[in-house]
């Protein structure tokens, strides 16, 4: 039901073209209290997608363009002296929002990247010794360019693991591209005029309902087997951690909810396994050189692990 509304408002109206899966994964990520990493070249509607979802859910949206000279305080905020009152006053950074788009996250210095760690994991920030809770729902959507190699700081494993999903997105088809060109002025205007269909309270309620989605014992076994199998694959140096399993479980529940079910089936696990695992698997260099990708490893694993029987 929930996704049907998103589909009606964003995809059928042509605001988002050919990004159905991405929109669905981002929504699943939002309602399972996760953060998303979108990897793709510039100019493929990553920002538009994030912005549209924020507007649709009537959530506050902010964007940070990462650069090497950006400091943690630029994201979190800082205390500034107010000469009128003679006191230090908190100036909140862009992190105090509901949906934060961190554009080109791998351009920021490791110090600034790590400033996001606490916020993403603990959902709180510490400024000058004071801790501030972030308002729920809170979701970081970070983007990175897979091509650029110079002037970038690849995210360390610990940082990447904080993201519930990694979405790899690409160019639209020729037909879709033509469609965008024809309607570009309308699209820009339509994004600004998206009317919210949910409010924050409803989103919080949905998040609670997602937690109650029924998971059969055999599905837990299946998730465990899938994650464990990633560790034994010959091309894998570092496989899925328990956190990867938790990510699959949460996303499966959210996916089932978006599909209108209150129970998880193995198909949900199969669908979400790729975005939940792809950034958590580190391949052996010799296989990487041969062109083996994490996506293929996950496909191998899913083709090997038996689904719950009978």
């Amino acid at each position: 039901m929930l996704f049907k509304i998103i589909e009606e408002r964003l995809l059928k109206t042509g605001i988002i073209v050919e990004k159905e899966t991405e929109a669905k994964i981002l929504t699943a990520c939002l309602i399972s209290r996760g953060h998303a990493l979108i990897e793709g070249v510039p100019g493929i509607a990553k920002t538009t997608l994030a912005k549209s979802i924020a507007r649709l859910f009537n959530l506050e949206f902010k964007r940070i363009q990462m650069t090497p000279d950006l400091l943690p305080a630029d994201i979190l905020g800082f205390y500034i002296y107010d000469p009128r009152t003679g006191e230090f006053k908190l100036r909140m950074g862009p992190i105090f929002t509901n949906i934060l788009l961190v554009d080109e996250i791998n351009r920021a210095s490791p110090r600034t990247q790590s400033a996001l760690l606490e916020a993403m994991q603990e959902r709180q920030v510490t400024i000058e010794g004071y801790t501030f809770k972030l308002e729920e729902p809170f979701m970081v959507i970070a983007t990175q360019n897979p091509i650029e190699m110079e002037g970038v700081f690849p995210l360390p494993e610990a940082q990447v693991d904080r993201f519930l999903v990694k979405v790899e997105t690409g160019y639209p088809s020729s037909e879709g591209f033509k469609n965008i060109l024809k309607r570009i002025d309308e699209i820009e205007l339509a994004v600004e005029e998206i009317k919210p269909v949910f409010d924050k309270e409803q989103i919080l309620k949905i998040m609670e309902e997602v937690k109650k989605v029924y998971v059969d014992d055999s599905i837990y076994d299946y998730i465990v087997k899938v994650v464990e199998e990633t560790r034994t694959h010959p091309a894998v140096k570092l496989g899925g951690s328990p956190r990867a399993g938790i990510a699959i479980l949460r996303l499966s529940k959210a996916w089932a909810y978006l599909e209108g079910r209150n129970y998880v089936i193995p198909d949900d696990v199969k669908i979400v396994a790729k975005p939940a695992l792809v950034h958590r698997i580190i391949l052996k260099p010799e296989y990487e050189v041969e062109g083996v990708r994490a996506n293929r490893v996950i496909e191998d694993v899913l083709a090997k692990v038996p689904v719950p029987k009978p």
Partner: protein
């Protein structure tokens, strides 16, 4: 390698000798020796399941399906004179070799007429009616009229399903079995202990399952060994040979399974024998929709050559069968898949789902046979 080849040759030799022995001992000229009975096994399975479910109110009926009862035994358990006389006449015709298909249908219609004349809800009459049908089914099977026996089995299936689902004379039935409640798991087990015993003693030899364990209808897998209708002269030889055959077969299978290593004996996958499946179902105490769904998967896999791998989900399998099945059959499988999903993953236990699953399965199989 050489040892395996030698074992296989020895095994084949033993199978051949046992086979010839069985053929020589075979009395019934109409039944093709060395092949399993033609009555579809899944029909028989369903009848057994249902007869168990009805066992509390019809103990004789349940007994007739769970023992190696002969036609005479079944006839002796019939109380009313009329159905008994009809079956005895059919048996005599069979013995004299003058039993025809028409005659069988005639006996069947006379039996139906008698049942219709009985008061509605008469448990004893229903029991006798079903027992007489069971006996006629056995007779027609022995006489080689497979179509007749299949028809009788289908009719019995319909009657037994209706009995279990409907509220015929609630005052009579409800006192013995509350149909509103889910049927206790022990009644739903496809095979009782007695039956399993019989399977091990006789049935196993009759129906040596193929490795795939799936074919249960008209597709013969490995040639089976006829039932031990041997002469006394050859009795010991027969037992020795069958024992040696089984032992060798086990050695060869174990050796090869050990090599393959990863084959798991799970229903619906390669390597799971039919008997293993039944034991697995029994052990797991599975609800009817799950059993019926896997029977349907086995059936579709064998009949339409759409194998289901261990990593294929129920929805993926349904998608795979789309191009192979007709729209009607695909719809029926889709219904079964939906019910299976609800029972298996949403943990919904509902008697109406059981009935729907049984109906969808029956329609799926019947639509093929008609």
């Amino acid at each position: 390698m050489k040892r395996t080849i030698a074992l296989v040759i020895l095994l084949l030799a033993c199978v051949l000798v046992t086979f010839i022995e069985g053929v020589n001992a075979e009395d019934n000229p109409r039944h093709t020796p060395g092949f399993p009975e033609n009555l579809p096994r899944n029909l028989e399975d369903l009848l057994r399941t249902l007869s168990e479910a009805l066992g509390e109110i019809m103990p004789e009926l349940a007994w007739s399906f769970h023992s190696n009862a002969t036609v005479e035994d079944v006839v002796n358990s019939i109380n009313n004179t009329h159905p008994k006389t009809l079956v005895i006449r059919a048996s005599q015709d069979l013995a004299e070799g003058k039993l025809t298909e028409e005659a069988l249908y005639n006996y069947l219609s006379l039996l139906q007429e008698w049942y219709e004349s009985c008061p509605k809800g008469d448990v004893k009459a229903t029991e006798d009616y079903l027992l007489a049908m069971r006996a006629l089914m056995m007779i027609s099977s022995q006489a080689g009229y497979t179509d007749v026996s299949i028809n009788i089995a289908k009719q019995m299936l319909d009657i037994m399903t209706n009995l279990r689902t409907s509220y015929i004379e609630p005052s009579t039935w409800d006192s013995q079995l509350d149909f509103k409640e889910p049927i206790p798991p022990e009644l739903l087990e496809p095979f009782g202990e007695l039956h399993e015993h019989v399977e091990l003693e006789l049935g196993w030899f009759n129906r040596i399952p193929s490795l795939g364990s799936i074919p249960k209808l008209t597709i013969p897998s490995l040639p089976g060994i006829p039932s031990p209708l041997f002469t006394l002269r050859n009795e010991h030889l027969y037992y020795v040979l069958t024992f040696v055959t089984v032992a060798l077969l086990s050695v060869v299978l174990l050796k090869n399974l050990g090599k393959i290593g990863r084959i798991k004996l799970v229903p619906g996958t390669l390597g799971g024998s039919w008997l293993k499946q039944q034991r697995y179902y029994k052990k797991m105490r599975l609800p009817i929709p799950i059993i019926v769904y896997w029977q349907a998967v086995n059936y579709v896999s064998a009949k339409y050559r759409v194998p289901r791998s261990t990593s294929t989900t129920h929805r993926e399998y349904l998608e795979l069968t789309k191009s192979k099945l007709s729209i009607l059959k695909h719809e029926l499988l889709a219904d079964l898949t939906r019910i299976y999903e609800l029972t298996r993953f949403a943990n919904i236990v509902d008697a109406t789902l059981d009935e729907k699953a049984l109906k969808a399965y029956r329609d799926l199989v019947h639509s093929d046979e008609s």
